[in-house]
């Protein structure tokens, strides 16, 4: 300890010779210094590492037509990101000269998410069961991911095609990718928007 008790002083009266200097040191400035440095380190550090979202874009190399996977019309869901955080979606493609019905919604929980959950209901339920199983059986994270991916690769699950207009913002893109993760959509792709899609959402932009 920094304080050294000096009991011997009082008992035998004053001793001749060197004056006894107290060994007590005032620690207050040192504490000040300590806290100053703590403050500095607290303010300059980043405790939380930024999160990332991993995304794989299709390669630009030309794929032969036969090899190209054709999205089955019944599984296809197209999401178009419009301006002012609007989202348009439609199911299927143009068939027999009948345009698919386009709906407009937003990024709230009741918006596009509700639609995606409805479309992907079977997978959602299975993943939910898997989560419960994981909690009960203490499943390893790797196994959980593997089984989840299996479930998400379901043959009947919807395939989402994301198309962004030039008015969409980066936040919209991230939001929609987020919805894919929340709704356990296994297969989705970001694709350039076509004239046809712009025509489809045309009536809504006015």
């Amino acid at each position: 300890m920094a304080e050294v008790s000096q009991e011997s002083q009082g008992k035998k009266g004053k001793k001749k010779g060197a004056k006894k200097v107290s060994t007590r040191i005032d620690f207050t400035p040192m504490v000040d210094l300590g806290f100053l440095l703590i403050t500095f380190f607290m303010l300059t550090t980043t405790m939380i590492k930024p999160q990332t979202m991993e995304i794989a874009m299709p390669s630009k190399e030309k794929v032969a037509d036969e090899e190209q996977t054709k999205v089955k019309s019944s599984r296809a869901v197209t999401i178009i990101l419009g301006k002012d955080n609007k989202v348009f979606y439609y199911e299927g493609t143009r068939e027999n000269d009948i345009d698919p019905k386009v709906e407009v919604t937003d990024f709230s929980a009741k918006g596009i998410r509700e639609f995606l959950i409805r479309k992907n209901y079977d997978v959602m339920v299975k993943v939910e069961e898997l989560k419960k199983e994981k909690a009960v059986k203490e499943m390893a994270e790797e196994e959980f991911q593997k089984r989840k991916n299996e479930l998400m690769g379901d043959k009947k699950a919807p395939i989402v095609i994301i198309k962004a207009t030039n008015e969409a913002s980066y936040k919209n893109l991230i939001d929609v990718l987020d919805e894919m993760a929340i709704c356990n959509i296994g297969r989705y792709a970001i694709v350039d928007i076509t004239e046809y899609d712009l025509e489809l959402i045309g009536p809504f932009s006015i």
């Binding site: 304080e3 980043t46 390669s59 030039n166 991230i174």
Partner: protein, 204 residues
């Protein structure tokens, strides 16, 4: 009135314990800290529920601000030197040892290669000024950004691409950046986001 006699007590407190605590905390913060990296522009990243942490090494950061300016940076000082040498060769600009050394400590930069010499001659405080945040040309006429990415891959084959963009950035700008990468066959990126609560309680 009778005075209540209070025994005089010393107000001096033993600071030793407090000092111990302070330095304990200090040690903790010193050991766990990695410094906030200075960035030429302030970027508000969008939030997502993704919880994957960004790796610390072998990372190339592409910073895009809301007006579409592109900034670039890789980690590793020796890698940075190599990268600038390669870029210099490609644009036939000779960089001196001093300039290479200066470049190796810059985290992110956003100047065209033609202005790199002038930029490196500046003091480090001046580099952070707004007028020096020009952005790397990334349009089709002079796509220097593409070369930066290409040479980064050559310099460090294990490098991963992290894109950090402002949430208000228009989509065409992001598309341009991604298209540039796809041209180089770089198809996997990490999009940097901030954390958002996973809406676990979903109503079916």
């Amino acid at each position: 009135m009778a005075k209540v006699k209070l025994p005089r007590k010393s107000t001096a407190i033993d600071m030793t314990a407090m000092c111990d605590v302070a330095f304990l905390l200090l040690t903790f913060f010193m050991l766990t800290s990695n410094f906030t990296q200075k960035e030429p522009v302030i970027v508000a990243t969008p939030s997502s529920i993704s919880e994957i942490k960004i790796p610390e090494r072998n990372i190339m950061t592409v910073l895009v601000d809301r007006s579409g300016k592109v900034f670039f940076g890789i980690d590793g000082q020796d890698k940075r030197i190599e990268l600038l040498q390669k870029m210099g060769e490609a644009y036939s600009i000779q960089f001196s040892d001093q300039e290479l050394k200066e470049f190796s400590v810059i985290n992110r930069f956003g100047v065209p290669i033609q202005q790199m010499k002038a930029f490196l001659a500046l003091e480090s405080e001046e580099r952070d000024l707004q007028e020096n945040a020009i952005g790397i040309p990334s349009d089709s006429t002079d796509n220097q950004f593409k070369n930066w990415v290409r040479f980064s891959r050559i310099v460090n084959p294990q490098i991963r691409i992290a894109i950090k963009a402002d949430q208000a950035t228009a989509y065409p700008i992001i598309k341009n950046v991604m298209n540039t990468m796809q041209d180089l066959n770089e198809n996997r990126y990490n999009l940097i986001t901030s954390l958002e609560q996973d809406p676990e309680k979903l109503t079916f």
